[in-house]
Amino acid sequence: MHSFFSDPAWIALRLSLKVACWATLLALIFGMAFGYLLARKRFAGRELLDAVLTLPMVMPPTVLGYYLLVIIGREGPVGAWLQHHFGINLIFTWQAAVMAAAVVAFPLVLKGARAAFETVDTQLEQAAKVLGVSSFGVFLRVTLPLAWRGVLGGTLLAFARSMGEFGATLMVAGSIPGKTQTLSIAVYEAVQAGQDDTANLLVIITSVVCITVLVLANKLTPNRHPEG
């Protein structure tokens, strides 16, 4: 009997976790930045920007994958630039899977962060500014500590969504075992190949990971902090 750690299921799980972690980190950074922008700044086209940034949540992942291919593919503006200057080709790499998962998961952080930032009383931020603290200091010391539950709730959902990403990932990263074949893609391959045992195992692993994350997210989402 071979070791569990060389099992393809374990390798796929590890890859999925790696991809989901990086994707969540990217989604978190951009989601928080745009969430803050939408919650705090008044500008023309604010709600339109929110709608555009939320699109990845409602569009078919295959369509997103196609957009990504157009942008980061060899012929795409970003892809050609990377190829020309750094000799980097993103397509069919795990980094492409990260990008696909990040785009799909991003709106979940954005929604959670925007709603959470909007619950923070702007007067508290003004009070902090008058006390001499820089804008970024105010964000780290007042806004984020009061909004972190909402941000974290959205982030955990984004992680779960990243773990389950299939369509966009398949389009840009393909299904290379041990390299870009994530859990959800491995499930599809196993079922196609009639390997029911592998499929069962993969499905159970995915379910356990996602349920764990969702339970955590539910525990953290109700935005309760001591009222002043």
Partner: protein
């Protein structure tokens, strides 16, 4: 204190347009701006603190220009060195009394520790008899204690002026009288110049060395 204000601002909210037009000068240590709610008093005070940018005009405090639209001067709120007491105090709900008072003493990206020790913190805890609640969060405090914490927090960084937005409106009448006396004594002791905005004639009686009346966004000078 020398304060000179000459500002205009058009505020829009949906269909409603509000014109703020304030012009006054004072050398008094105690300026009270009196007017009904909605007269634009808070906006005026925010302009002095740098929390609202006027469309045009000039603001100078103690000979220092804080805002001058014509000369493109607009000192950030962080650098105006004024203390601002918000109507409902705006204490940081996630920080204890000690951390709230120390907030402005630590300028970086991190909040003071829950057990922060600093000379100014010790002083203000003692001055306002807050030692026994030093580790408590704002929501655990009484109304009077909240106001004291807010004052201590505002005064700890040694500001050049104290701006007060309806400081007693959130208190019940009995406490209001006591806190007025406290603020009165404090202002005399520190001899810190203050601008207080209120709709309460009692505040005018207690603090009005130089009283200005504000109405419908317009502030006209009036001697007492």
């Amino acid at each position: 204190m020398q304060i000179q204000v000459d500002i205009r601002k058009t505020l829009r909210s949906g269909d409603r347009v509000f014109e703020l037009d304030a012009r006054f000068e004072s050398a008094s240590q105690r300026v009270v701006i009196y007017g009904a709610s909605g007269a634009g008093k808070s906006q005026l005070l925010k302009a002095v603190a740098g929390l609202m940018t006027p469309d045009s005009g000039r603001i100078a405090l103690a000979g220092r220009c804080l805002f001058d639209q014509a000369q493109r001067i607009d000192i950030t709120p962080q650098r105006r060195r004024v203390a601002y007491l918000f109507q409902d105090y705006a204490l940081f709900p996630h920080l204890n009394v000690r951390q709230n008072i120390a907030f402005g003493l630590q300028r970086g990206w991190r909040n003071p520790l829950a057990r922060v020790e600093a000379e100014a913190v010790r002083y203000w805890l003692a001055a306002f008899e807050l030692e026994h609640v030093a580790q408590q969060l704002p929501h655990q405090l009484s109304g009077g204690q909240r106001q004291r914490v807010a004052l201590a927090r505002a005064l700890a960084p040694q500001p050049g002026a104290l701006l007060l937005d309806e400081p007693f409106a959130a208190l019940d009448p009995a406490l209001r009288e006591r806190m007025r006396a406290e603020l009165d004594a404090l202002q005399r002791r520190l001899s810190i110049p203050m601008i207080l905005i209120t709709h309460d004639p009692e505040d005018v009686r207690a603090f009005g060395e130089h009283v200005l009346r504000m109405e419908g966004g317009r502030l006209e000078e009036q001697e007492t």
